[in-house]
Symmetry: C2
Subunit: 408 residues, 2 copies
């Protein structure tokens, strides 16, 4: 057979071939900022990555070798969509310690908790369905949900998380399919929903026969204080609980898990079968061994010892340097805190000025679906060390002062 | 805080909360058969799993250790959605050898090729949009597409794959958004689209300004004969090419890749960001080392040496045992062949009878979106060894003969 390969065929038009939902998709708004922030020499308070020095590299190496030596053919083979048996089994007591009581049949493994957010929206949300989110909210969740063309309604928040009265109002006024919250060490604010409000939120969910997605990636990164009960413990029949190994083991393994009402988790598993058949088996086997071999128990304190002083250093630097008129959250854990400045300090303008001096953060406006929050910003305190962080915050403070005196 | 945990709260209703698309989802139709087929003592010709003894367990162990030792913090960290740089780079020459000419920027990594099928449908298919598929077709693709509520039109096939004239008719009569083909060693039939037809298919695509998804999971499992050019080589501007590491390395790593027109692959990457952020980094690093270290080149012949005699044994057993009136495909590679029996031998009834005697296959009806194919069946020839396979085929033949004489 002789074929004349077509020489440089003209690119075809794609625009008119796209699905309607694709119009709702967009590259993450903060992607450009993160790109700038990752330039050599830049001090980034912008990212949301765990510190690489927190990864138990040697433990993963050892566990990889073990699971491949002992069970190589199984961990390299296709597996059931629900997840790898030993991991699901190990998660039951792990979750129970944290107040999430479930059984092996009701916990499923996904390719990161992002994959849980996507799959839950996929089985629940038709175009125009309403999702209630706290304001500000986690951007990655909105980007998962957006593909299913929902409408959003905002629930007002303060320093203790969502306002129960406003949740009640939202559920009364709108036909809400799903409430989405990050109740502990929220991204972007670092805020935690208070224990009293959790009880009230569970009651309100019952009163309105509502369904809630509790996204808990940061709960185990607690540096002080006592963990409140997860919402799942207070209303297990109407709370879908998801968390991840990304902050306590390694995000590159892409391992998340979900506990959901039985009927719903069955649909999620069926949907996942179409999406990717199942989550990578090798990673699941490593995570199973990490939990059941006691490695998490041994390693987690090291992660906390790394992050705790960084959070303290960030709080101290803000205290030392920031001009009057700026306030910030004091999270007991997690990776972020939230700064609110005077209204005349625009977060994007301040960030642009800081970038010129080699420091980047994320302006808060990006986390508000309604474009509010222009004078807020998110700071990550886990990536940089104490000294670097102090210099970065001082630089931000100087830039803010300059903006304030220019506008005075 | 004292909380009365709700005692056994009543399960909430899920049905009315589901999205419209969820009505199109269903557990894989052959799941029950595969469950029966995996019972202890059962000889399964039903599965589609690679033989576990084909996995390069020791190589994976070694590469795992290497990538974690040399670059542990990077392979455990979050990564760009497009894929791990070294893997994308290694895929460019690998693909070029197979006739798929591309650049690093145009190849992206997904969580198995199933994840490619899902993501492409997600960005292209609005409810009611038309996908043209060959009949019979790969079930997993239909289950990925179904969630986006397409309508299907069938393209007729014979022993050389799709009939170009029928493809031409389908594209003329229907507003087809996407043509989906497995042109080489197709699942379920084992058929390969002939070189002449490939040229004609490319021309027809151009004549109708159509877009085609070329799914090529089995192309490298060739036991004899010469590989035809991929469709991508003949119309690169309108063919999305996808393949996988599942058959040449290990399916448990969930690694697929796609080469697509630039504008389309950008949308796929944006969609994937919402679905799971990126594919697991550790698996990608292992695959990169597997390709660039020459391990695939060394290991692939071993896989072929394992499967080739099994295919021969299956063909010989069919020749020896099957009664008159049965015909079957003689694939030069892949994992499956396709048997067509006399119309009065119902594939499901025959399978039920065989299962009683400890042998299972998959009735062909399941691969037909229009419920035809009642007297066809798919046999896998890579999982069982020669002796076992001969016994299994003889048993099938006896059962078929009994059915034929009962209906005579």
């Amino acid at each position: 057979m002789i074929v004349d390969p077509p020489t440089a065929p003209k690119a075809i038009e794609i625009g008119h071939r796209l699905a309607r939902r694709t119009g709702r998709m967009h590259a993450s708004a903060i992607r450009e900022i993160l790109k700038v922030a990752s330039r050599p020499g830049m001090i980034s308070l912008a990212g949301g990555l765990p510190a690489p020095e927190s990864f138990p590299v040697d433990i993963v190496r050892q566990l990889c070798d073990e699971v491949l030596s002992e069970d190589g053919e199984r961990v390299l083979q296709y597996h059931a969509t629900e997840g790898y048996g030993p991991l699901r089994e190990a998660l039951v007591p792990f979750l129970a310690e944290r107040g999430v009581h479930t059984s092996v049949d009701d916990v499923s493994i996904f390719h990161g908790s992002q994959n849980v957010l996507d799959t839950l929206a996929k089985v629940l949300i038709s175009p125009g369905d309403v999702i209630a989110v706290e304001s500000p909210s986690y951007l990655g969740a909105l980007s998962a949900f957006d593909a299913y063309e929902p409408n959003y309604v905002m629930i007002a928040t303060d320093d203790e998380g969502v306002l129960p009265d406003d949740l009640d109002r939202v559920l009364r006024e709108h036909p809400v399919k799903l409430v989405y919250l990050v109740p502990t060490f929220q991204n972007p604010t670092g805020r935690t929903l208070s224990p009293e409000r959790r009880v009230r939120v569970a009651e309100i969910l019952r009163e309105h026969d509502a369904l809630l997605l509790e996204d808990d990636p940061y709960g185990m990164l607690r540096y002080e204080g006592t963990a409140p009960l997860p919402l799942h413990a207070l209303a297990p029949e109407r709370v879908v609980y998801t968390s991840t190994f990304s902050k306590i083991l390694a995000p590159g393994l892409r391992l998340g898990f979900v506990v959901a009402p039985r009927a719903l988790s069955r649909w999620m598993v069926i949907a996942k079968q179409g999406v990717d058949l199942h989550t990578n088996t090798l990673g699941q086997a490593i995570a199973a061994a990490y939990l059941s071999g006691g490695y998490l128990t041994a390693h987690l304190p090291k992660i906390l010892e790394l992050y705790h002083p960084r959070r303290d250093a960030m709080l101290q630097a803000l205290e030392n340097h920031m001009p009057d008129g700026f306030v910030w959250t004091r999270p007991e854990g997690g990776m972020f805190l939230w700064v609110i400045g005077p209204e005349r300090v625009d977060g994007e303008a301040l960030n642009a000025r800081c970038i010129e001096h080699g420091v980047a953060f994320v302006p808060g406006r990006f986390f508000h679906a309604d474009d509010s929050g222009s004078h807020t910003f998110r700071l990550n305190f886990t990536a940089a060390n104490r000294t670097t962080m102090d210099g970065a915050v001082r630089l931000m403070a100087d830039a803010a002062r300059a903006m304030l005196s220019a506008s005075a």
